[in-house]
Subunit: 285 residues, 4 copies
């Protein structure tokens, strides 16, 4: 993995961008392994690209390449971009309340190697999941959130997160984050909402789904924005239900969808497969 790198690029489309990127990588000695590129409109749209490449020793030369890429390629095309060594594992802070299934899925996928990232800490507004975190050798921070005192909890969050956390994962965390916090972590907080958004925004979506009599229930992983359940959608999935399923059954079935959808979204995030464009994501899955 030391030789594997990833480049993500977003800019206004015009001819010559792929040529410039490919030439740069070739001249650096890199071999492109996968590349996936899309323009929202051939004339005047947005250019979006992800490249996976092999370059011996890249992990140690990443900074040098970034300097050169910035100057030679990114500047002329006014790009938003990232150049990342695949070998650098991202560090995740997982926020939880009382339900363990999403947290366990991430911990299990980390151990199995399916998720190439580290759950560096678990932060719970309730203490229930401390045992789970500890069992897996992950530090647990209990940060209660009292009504009307969100501010204090968030100060504590900032303190805990300040050393080297790349992304915040809300793994069925049942509290709302402040706009200021969300802004600090823009496009780096992933939430799992237990409905097929935009249906059933807000509280108790399985109750809402049961009341409406839908034939499929779903879950949605999205980046968190100031507006509740309205951020860029990363992944969604659904499962069939029928009239025999009560709300408790929907919860049971939903847990399977939630953890799968969240884990997929987190995996794509840590593998640098997601670009946010407007209020949407482009996922190079």
């Amino acid at each position: 993995m030391k030789s594997r790198g990833r480049l993500l690029v977003s800019c206004s489309d015009r001819p010559g961008i792929v040529a410039a990127i490919a030439r740069f990588l070739f001249e650096c000695g890199a071999n492109i392994v996968h590349s996936d590129q899309h323009s929202t409109d051939p004339w005047g749209g947005q250019f979006l690209m992800r490249v996976d490449f092999e370059l011996p020793g890249f992990a140690d030369r990443a900074d040098d390449l970034r300097v050169r890429f910035a100057e030679r390629v990114a500047a002329p095309f006014d790009m938003v971009w990232r150049l990342e060594p695949a070998s650098r594992r991202k560090r995740l802070a997982v926020f939880v309340s009382r339900e363990d299934h999403c947290l366990l899925e991430l911990l299990w996928q980390q151990r199995s190697g399916d998720l190439r990232a580290d759950v560096a800490m678990v932060i719970g507004n309730h203490p229930e999941l401390e045992a789970v975190a500890t069992q897996w050798g992950v530090p647990f921070h209990h940060v209660p959130v009292s009504p009307g005192r969100h501010h204090e909890a968030e100060e504590r969050h900032r303190e805990i997160l300040k050393n080297g956390i790349d992304a915040v994962i809300l793994a069925r965390y049942m509290q709302i984050l402040s706009p200021a916090f969300v802004a600090e972590w823009r496009n780096r907080i992933i939430n799992i909402h237990h409905s097929f958004l935009p249906a059933f925004v807000g509280a108790k979506p399985y109750n809402q789904a049961h009341d409406r009599g839908v034939k499929l229930i779903g879950a949605t992983a999205h980046y968190v924005t100031e507006q509740l359940d309205a951020g860029p959608i990363i992944e969604q999935d659904v499962q069939r239900v029928d009239h025999r399923q009560e709300v408790a059954d929907l919860r049971r079935i939903g847990r399977q969808i939630e953890r799968t959808v969240l884990a997929r979204a987190v995996r794509w995030h840590v593998e640098d497969r997601i670009l946010v464009h407007g209020n949407k994501t482009v996922v190079f899955a």
Copy 2:
């Protein structure tokens, strides 16, 4: 098929209902082939049941059995019920505007034998699909709907429908029916809405879906009620999309889901597999 019958029952649950129904059918000489029964709550819920049975000569004796069932079984338990010969093919009126895919699906499934019902007529507020109907040997009625003159169109609809139509299928019919008309055909009008309800109610759902950046698009077949896109859901399905799909692609992909979902809902309706309970359906699929 002359010997096959179907019984649908809905009533307040209490012990002894299955026994009463099964005994009645046994004493009539019927053999139960499939039965599916559900109570929403074992203590004080709603009893819902569908029975498929074989009884030689049933098609000719249905009226007689109905009289006896009403007296001996339905009355004591205060049932809402239907007793139908499977051999009687229901007659459908299909309402269309300009898009042909849902209509074609129903016509093809009728011919292939997958849909055991007859498209008896096609009613279009535009004349475009006359050729399709004619090609398949089905009468076409062009009933334009002028703004502010829905009433006249509906009088014409009533006229056309008055002889032996069992159900009205809105196969991408882009007009709204009046509450009076809907009330006359309660639980007998099936609409296909081109979104995964309750997301994207109303006009241009594929545009709405594209704007929101959802990762799955869907379609929903439901019974029509007075409130737009809010009637009991019969069936839904979804298909995966990604950032490369423009609105036109969503429409293309959506057409496949729409026709499949509508055809499934119509098939269940004509095979007496649906009970409406509150604003939900119970589908004995």
Copy 3:
């Protein structure tokens, strides 16, 4: 749950069976909550039925009811049948080798209450998963299987299983059981095979799938019979793959399908939802 019971029945079909069963339950004071019945052929087929009922105090009266059911209903119709209190949790022995995902899924579903059964012991031919079992408070037995000495291992298995185990779950157990052992546990051993059977029977199915270039990979849970991977299928599912996935990716994707499919099959088994008929299962899901 003390008042909930389940009845499973299989016999030659003829009129009057549902009536006899429903009457018996009614006379016992039971209320049928769900029932699902199917005949493979209305004339001369096999009658298959599952009934969920509520009967206050049933758990304590089950033996008495069994005696009466055997005499009054089962004998006249020559039924194969089971009458089970839902409150009795089945005890499972989970056989493993080195992979932990299926075992973890079962343990987690037990804890979350989704699986209403107890993993009473874990038996591994390798010692690796001892820590997992212990962590969850489940006894682990290391029973190595040396080439040519399967017999000894099986003697040990018999010894360990002899007290109150209801079913054996092969959770990626990579050893073959003897015909004698399989016969002792007929329709009570569930295996998960990591392919969409009957494709890719035998060893290394993900390699086989990759070589063949399939576009979907799957997993199959089945009852174990003497013939390898050929027993009655309980459940299957698939997931889409594409040309970018190497064998290691198929394994990763496959792990998700395997654990889901196995857990569903085990849940149906412990909830008495499965009847075996010939080499097929009838699942009253």
Copy 4:
């Protein structure tokens, strides 16, 4: 569409290929709209790429560009490649027997614009589908295939196909083509097999599936090779079935999968989205 072009490339991987292709297109004045590239192995694997580009007037300059691409790019890298104007609609010959659903799907998708190709002729070994073809204005050729006289039929096929047919679609054509014919049309004959290959090769797959008791049935579209049902798989899909479905139901459900899977495969083929590599396909969907 006159300005849209597509480039497909397959060659031994080495650094610089993307750069060379992108530079060539840039120097021609083309803007890359989408590109998708994959190497089977970063060191010594196969390089596979599809590029969608916009180049005003491309349709009229395609031959000129091909000459230059061959010399400047394809030759140095020893590429297998195609450079196609998106505006050129491919012409299809659809072979049928008695079942109409796959043929109708292609005709309907052509008319709706979802399939950007022309069904130029229908060839049937039975006369039943002549009316369908005629109804849609497509020439029908009845070419019976007598036992032991396949050779004569194939001579007739060659005669009919000789003018401007790009691909042969076997739309439930129940005859086997000779190795010679298959060789002439290598990677240009698409068959739909009514099972989830490699399960249930050969005759009567729905009967085989019913006998085995599978819980999902499927269909597979593949390029035809000399070996029955063993060519490179293009697309597969499945649908859930249960114990209540008889073989006739599997056929009905299967028809929906067959036509969807075949239509998807044909669309990918005519949009130049498929590369064959060994006995597998790479689909740039």
